[in-house]
């Protein structure tokens, strides 16, 4: 017997999802998270699932893990003190950034700029210069390097980043500086920009490398502790970390380039959603993960999530591939208010957070939140329990909502419905961003809702988008852990090659792809994945010569062998027209080449749920009133745990489970499919 385990660490709970290599239904467990050291909850969860199912921990073969350790280090500013070494004349590279001021005209009046991730006092310049063509214009001033590194050494620097101009074409100066740093500061971790991100644009390369350096010590420490703690119980195992791009990487590689882990958490949700959707037979879905303070959305087409070449964490934007998850800063805790000046109803951006939280949670919150609006409308039943023991007080929610209903001269229910419609409109904007704006018609996609608040809003969003059915998986909390456990090993290697297509020979490309393939396969090789189980894909980023943004086109090694990149170039024209309504009779330019290698995923596990007799009264908990489109409707509350395959629930209805509540609106209905997903559709 051998088991693989997926673990997802959330803000409140840590979920564990365990698969028997021999097949069978997955085993799950839920334990409270331990934010002070997240690895404790990971180990607790694994112990719990083993105990509950009488499994010997040493039979665990592999642990796959999505982690927010890197993300939190950035969000809280709790990373390493980073020393930055740059080319003479560019000391203020992070300080000046791209000179961008957010907001509208005169927005600068309210703009307060934070300190850079590597501070100016810790940034040093070294002489020597590489030209844009890669030639050495001035040799590296090694004495100067030693002098400057000595300064860094005298400060309390924990991590060093080297980012020299034009190192993306020629890294010899960076490599030499690295040698000197390694010799003079043997104990610090080092990030070299030409390896972290071998791409043009010095600020983007610097911030990406600095972010890497900033989180590296924290992530390494965490991964080392986790592996040690696990192996004390399980014996030797393979620990893999889910990267932002949705692929798994061995813990050691992941620790070397932790900037690739900044979206590890959301990537787990996307992977899990993909896995569950496939079980229900859907390959095209849009995910909708709404939590307390923010909401993530992502588009999956043909079973593959869109990946973009950028990761955004709060105000830090780095160039690292991540599943194209768009985040809206609105969730259940977003506060609604009515400004005096306009008497408009606004929702967010401020949030009640976990403390004091929504008014209905009776933890001292007094401002009306989205959650309070859901309580008033009967969407979130006031006798439901969140996380088992949290009380929901409708009277407090109503009281809070008078803060907006009075200035708007509306009833409390009308105001609450207004809050929901406005927050839904924000969500709709984000959902359009990943669909319509990328040239995808949302009507060809199903909408999968998870997260604490996702299933409350999903039916309404399905209507706005025309995306049907709305899928609500069982135990949406465990979804991320399921994603961790069921995704593939993956690695990629990329390089910049800015060159016109017409001036590039097939031989040149072939050589480059070979070299990238060797690099990308290395980590899977070392994980013991045989080459015939490694799926290799080539990608080329193309644009019309001079454009700033490129479009990624994927091709198989076989296609490339047969046609070179000719077909990819034709596909680029098509994609450009699909996305932007025009194509140009202009030279095309290659920007980057990339090779992606995928290992085999977990063996297919078939989820299943017992068939019901069609009589759903077995699951009914209580009658209730649900407010929708200006009216109260009588409806029923159901217990998700008692629903069986084939059941059909007519809206209006509420389905509750441990960590989530689903609303089925009047005019819609839900069916329970053979794997236990709720599929909501409009009656018409």
């Amino acid at each position: 017997m051998a088991y693989s385990v997926g673990v997802d660490v959330g803000g409140t709970f840590t979920d564990v999802f365990m698969l028997d290599d021999a097949g069978g239904q997955p085993l799950t467990a839920k334990v409270p998270s331990t934010p002070e050291d997240p690895s404790i909850a990971v180990i607790n969860g694994i112990e719990k699932v083993c105990q509950q199912n009488d499994i010997d921990p040493t039979s665990i073969r592999a642990v796959m893990h999505g982690t927010t350790v890197a993300t939190n280090a950035v969000l809280t500013g709790n990373g390493a003190r980073v020393g930055l070494i740059v080319t003479d004349g560019f000391r203020q590279i992070l300080h000046l950034a791209r000179g961008f001021v957010p907001g509208a005209l005169s927005g600068w009046i309210n703009f307060v700029k934070g300190k850079p991730m590597a501070e100016l006092r810790d940034t040093v310049e070294v002489g020597g210069r590489i030209g844009a063509d890669g030639a050495v214009v001035r040799p590296l001033d090694e004495d100067g390097v030693r002098r400057e590194v000595a300064k860094l050494k005298a400060s309390d620097i924990q991590s060093v980043t080297i980012c020299l101009l034009n190192s993306y074409v020629n890294s010899e100066h960076e490599d030499r500086v690295e040698e000197i740093v390694r010799e003079m500061m043997p104990d610090v971790s080092i990030s070299v920009s030409s390896r972290t991100l071998p791409e043009v644009q010095e600020y983007e390369r610097a911030i990406t490398s600095v972010a890497n350096a900033f989180v590296k010590p924290v992530v390494s420490r965490y991964l080392t502790n986790l592996k040690k703690g696990l192996e004390e119980r399980t014996g030797a195992l393979s620990l893999s970390i889910l990267r932002s791009d949705g692929g798994l990487a061995a813990a050691q590689t992941a620790g070397e380039y932790p900037v690739n882990l900044l979206m590890s958490g959301p990537a787990g949700g996307v992977a899990g959603a993909n896995w569950v959707a496939r079980q229900s037979g859907f390959e095209n879905i849009i995910t909708f993960d709404m939590g307390g303070t923010s909401t993530d959305v992502c588009l999956i087409e043909g079973g593959e999530a869109q990946v973009r070449r950028e990761t955004v964490v709060h105000d830090v934007v780095v160039r690292a591939s991540s599943v194209d998850v768009r985040t809206v800063g609105a969730g259940g805790g977003s506060i609604a208010y009515v400004p005096d000046l306009t008497k408009a109803l606004r929702v967010g951006p401020s949030s009640a957070g976990a403390v004091p939280g929504p008014a209905a949670y009776a933890k001292g919150g007094e401002d009306p939140t989205v959650t309070d609006a859901n309580v008033v409308l009967g969407h979130l039943p006031s006798d439901a329990r969140l996380g088992g023991d949290m009380e929901i007080r409708k009277d407090l929610a109503e009281k809070a909502l008078t803060k907006i209903s009075e200035p708007l001269s509306m009833s409390i229910e009308e105001a609450a419905e207004g809050v929901i419609r406005i927050v839904n409109e924000n969500m709709f904007g984000a959902l359009r961003l990943v669909s319509v704006e990328q040239g995808h018609d949302p009507r060809n996609f199903a909408l999968m809702a998870f997260g604490g608040a996702g299933p409350l809003h999903a039916n309404a969003l399905g209507r706005l988008l025309g995306a049907w059915p709305v899928i609500v998986p069982r135990g949406p909390g465990v979804l991320c852990a399921a994603g961790d456990a069921t995704t593939n090993l993956r690695d990629e290697a990329a390089r910049s090659l800015i060159k016109l297509v017409d001036e590039t020979s097939k031989e040149e490309l072939s050589e480059a792809f070979d070299e990238l393939t060797a690099r990308a396969c290395a980590s899977l090789d070392s994980e013991g994945v045989p080459r015939d189980k490694q799926e290799v894909r080539f990608q080329v980023d193309l644009r019309y010569a001079g454009q700033s943004a490129d479009i990624t086109v994927t091709l198989s090694p076989e296609d490339f062998a047969k046609h070179g990149i000719e077909q990819a170039v034709g596909r680029f024209d098509e994609l450009h027209e699909q996305m932007f309504n025009f194509r140009l009779a202009k030279a095309k330019e290659i920007v980057n080449l990339r090779v992606i290698v995928l290992g085999p995923g977990a063996e297919a596990v078939e989820l299943s749920l017992e068939d019901g007799d069609g009589d759903i009264t077995r699951a009914a908990i209580a009658d209730t009133q649900i407010y929708s489109e200006g009216e109260h409707h009588p409806g029923t509350i159901y217990d998700r745990a008692k629903l069986l395959a084939g059941d059909r629930i007519e809206g209006p209805a509420i389905v509750t489970e441990l960590d989530s509540t689903t609303v089925i609106l009047p005019g819609s209905h839900a069916t329970v499919d053979s794997v236990g997903n709720l599929l909501i559709r409009d009656n018409s």
Partner: protein
């Protein structure tokens, strides 16, 4: 006036729109605007649009009132001045500022306007303008500082239908694009703008599908009305009835005249706010004229006010009748055609300093220091190593002013959306090496909240070519407020391979450069806000340690530094007490010096003779004579009658 042809001429019914639907529609319109931006920046090719993001979208109602955008609506000026008919499937193009009341302010900006129809009836407009890198004219980048009329600045495209009843007019695109040194860029950028406008139009139609066209049209009216009411309250609550005056300057016009005064009086009558620019100097014979579109000016005022009081507001054109802007014809801000306009960026930027000065005088909540109120242009052209002609054009940034909420950032953009150009991008595409890119210590005006530092960029040229520059504030100072001191002025120095140094004027065309020459391009710092003698020591220590102020520079904060580079607190306390006493009363504004003093020291401090006082330009003089003759004839006729 354009003739509107609708297949269905029934007016839209006004229907009730509930408050929440109204807010939902406001969000949807705002989202459409954001999407127009996203498409432009992804598909445009020129540096100025793709990297620096000089392009601005707007969505309007059927009368051309802006619902979402940045610079006010260009559409109504366009409708007023266009002679032809407008019908479904048309898209209009122009770059002529005189044909749209200055909604675009120089020929480089190409404006595309798309009427949006729904079942045969006009629903609204989408429009966008973007900066084309070159549109012919006498210098590369089409902004000759020595031009004396509009026709020297490039092709003038009167309002034309570039798409007619759904058919793209290829001939017009070919003609427009042929008149450029960068035809490929212009073509791609034009299609990018067109694509963005079409996307905005598609979103408006979808909104009509979703909410019902009557609801959408009624909501547009309500959104305008709601904004008007908010601004009305703001104006009445914050603006005085007594007149306030503020004056600032454009340093010179590249023809040796200057400084040009921009002077404005502001007062409130009831809920109307009046701006009278009668004190402004006459138009220039050169390129620094700025045809100030009154809607744009009103939008600037509105944005400034809401950013102080409620930044969440999505501004629209609803309140424009509450502001009355009076600008005398023949002045720098309302030049007689065909006055040259390409250097309007200086007056356009300076308008923000005027607004700060007026509002800050009226109500000290609004008071911020003089900003980086310009867009310094650096242009370099020639033949590269592959013997292909190239044009590098970039806009520099400087110091953001000190403000009530904190320091002005160093070397950032005062304009929304814009970004600097990555130096590796510049080096990869143009025969130039950037040897230094940093903010200059001590150039931001000291203050409780200091002004941002200006930027120093050192360009080493790798081939021979020609350099042109547009900048300002080399003569007058970026002023400080509430005790804050002025920022340091701009300079440009050319260092030849033999080591000789040459100071360049801030506005100049076609300076020949050789491989190895180095241009040191320094922009100016923002003014300081509040008393620098009250700036906390730890903030000064941070700036010192970061190299953003120097040990020399801290003296102006009343700070004494010990041998180890740290602050000597007791010596500083004593120095501050002494300086406070000697300084006396704090004035609201510190302009650095009087104009006479600046003139007197000009040669010594800047290396240039002071500019001569402005004189009437020939175009304006001819117009004035004609006006005079006309009125004499009229009064003669009256006398005779």
């Amino acid at each position: 006036m354009a003739t509107l042809i609708e297949k269905n001429t029934t007016p839209w019914d006004e229907v009730e729109v509930d408050a929440v639907t109204l807010d939902v529609i406001e969000n949807a319109i705002q989202n459409a605007r954001v999407q127009m931006d996203a498409i432009l920046f992804r598909t445009a090719i020129s540096t100025i649009i793709r990297e620096q993001r000089d392009g601005f979208p707007v969505l309007t109602d059927r009368d051309g009132q802006m619902l979402a955008g940045q610079f006010g609506s260009p559409v109504d000026g366009f409708i007023d001045n266009y002679d032809g008919d407008v019908q479904e499937g048309d898209v209009l193009l122009t770059n002529d500022p005189y044909a749209c009341d200055g909604a675009i302010s120089h020929l480089n900006d190409w404006l595309v306007c798309t009427p949006v129809f729904y079942n045969g009836r006009l629903l609204g407009w989408t429009a966008m303008f973007g900066h084309m890198s070159d549109i012919s004219g006498s210098t590369a980048a089409s902004m000759p500082v020595t031009s004396t009329d509009l026709l020297q600045e490039g092709i003038v495209i009167p309002p034309v239908k570039v798409v007619s009843k759904g058919e793209l007019q290829q001939d017009i695109v070919r003609m427009a694009v042929r008149n450029s040194r960068t035809p490929d860029w212009n073509e791609a950028d034009f299609y990018a703008i067109l694509s963005a406008c079409r996307t905005g139009a598609a979103r408006l139609v979808e909104m009509a599908d979703r909410f019902g066209p009557e609801v959408l049209v009624s909501a547009q009216k309500l959104l305008l009305a709601r904004n008007r009411e908010a601004m009305r309250e703001l104006i009445v609550a914050t603006m005085p009835e007594e007149k306030v005056v503020f004056e600032d300057y454009i340093c010179d016009d590249a023809l040796g005249y200057g400084p040009y005064k921009i002077g404005c009086e502001m007062w409130r009558e009831g809920d109307q706010l009046i701006f009278d620019f009668a004190r402004t100097d006459p138009q220039s014979a050169g390129c620094v004229n700025f045809l100030l579109n009154d809607r744009m000016f009103k939008m600037f005022c509105g944005q400034f006010m809401v950013n102080v009081f409620d930044p969440q507001i999505v501004l629209n054109d609803g309140y424009i009748d509450l502001i009355d802007v009076r600008i005398p014809k023949g002045s720098l801000l309302n030049p007689v055609a065909p006055a040259a306009l390409n250097g309007r960026t200086h007056a356009l930027g300076r308008i923000f300093d005027i607004i700060s000065g007026l509002f800050g005088t009226a109500n000290s909540d609004f008071l911020v220091a003089a900003g980086f109120s310009d867009s310094p242009h650096m242009m370099f052209s020639g033949f590269n190593e592959r013997d292909d002609w190239f044009l590098m054009f970039q806009i520099g940034f400087g110091g953001i002013p000190g403000k009530p909420g904190g320091d002005g950032p160093d070397g950032h953009s005062l304009w929304p959306k814009m970004r600097n150009v990555p130096n590796e991008y510049t080096e990869a595409y143009f025969p130039i090496r950037v040897e230094r890119f940093e903010s200059i210590p001590d150039t931001g005006g000291p203050g409780l909240h200091r002004g941002g530092n200006g930027v120093k960029t050192e360009y080493a040229f790798l081939v021979e070519g020609k350099v042109s520059i547009h900048d300002d504030r080399w003569f007058t100072y970026p002023w400080g407020v509430k005790g804050g001191l002025p920022g340091v002025r701009s300079t440009k120095t050319l260092i030849r391979t033999d080591g000789s140094r040459e100071t360049l004027p801030s506005k100049i065309d076609n300076v020949a450069v050789e491989p190895g020459d180095l241009l040191v391009f320094e922009t100016w710092g923002g003014g300081g806000w509040g008393d620098p003698l009250e700036r906390p020591y730890d903030a000064i220590a941070y700036d010192l340690e970061s190299g953003l102020v120097t040990e020399n520079g801290v003296g102006r904060y009343g700070v004494v530094v010990k041998a180890d580079g740290t602050i000597d607190v007791s010596a500083s306390d004593a120095l501050r007490a002494k300086m406070t006493e000697e300084r006396g009363e704090i004035e609201p504004f510190d302009f650095g010096a009087t104009l006479d003093e600046i003139r007197e020291k000009c040669l010594e401090e800047t290396g240039f003779e002071p500019p001569k006082p402005p004189i009437q330009a020939p175009i304006a003089a001819a117009w004035a004579r004609k006006q005079k003759r006309g009125s004499e004839q009229a009064s003669g006729a009256r006398a005779a009658g």
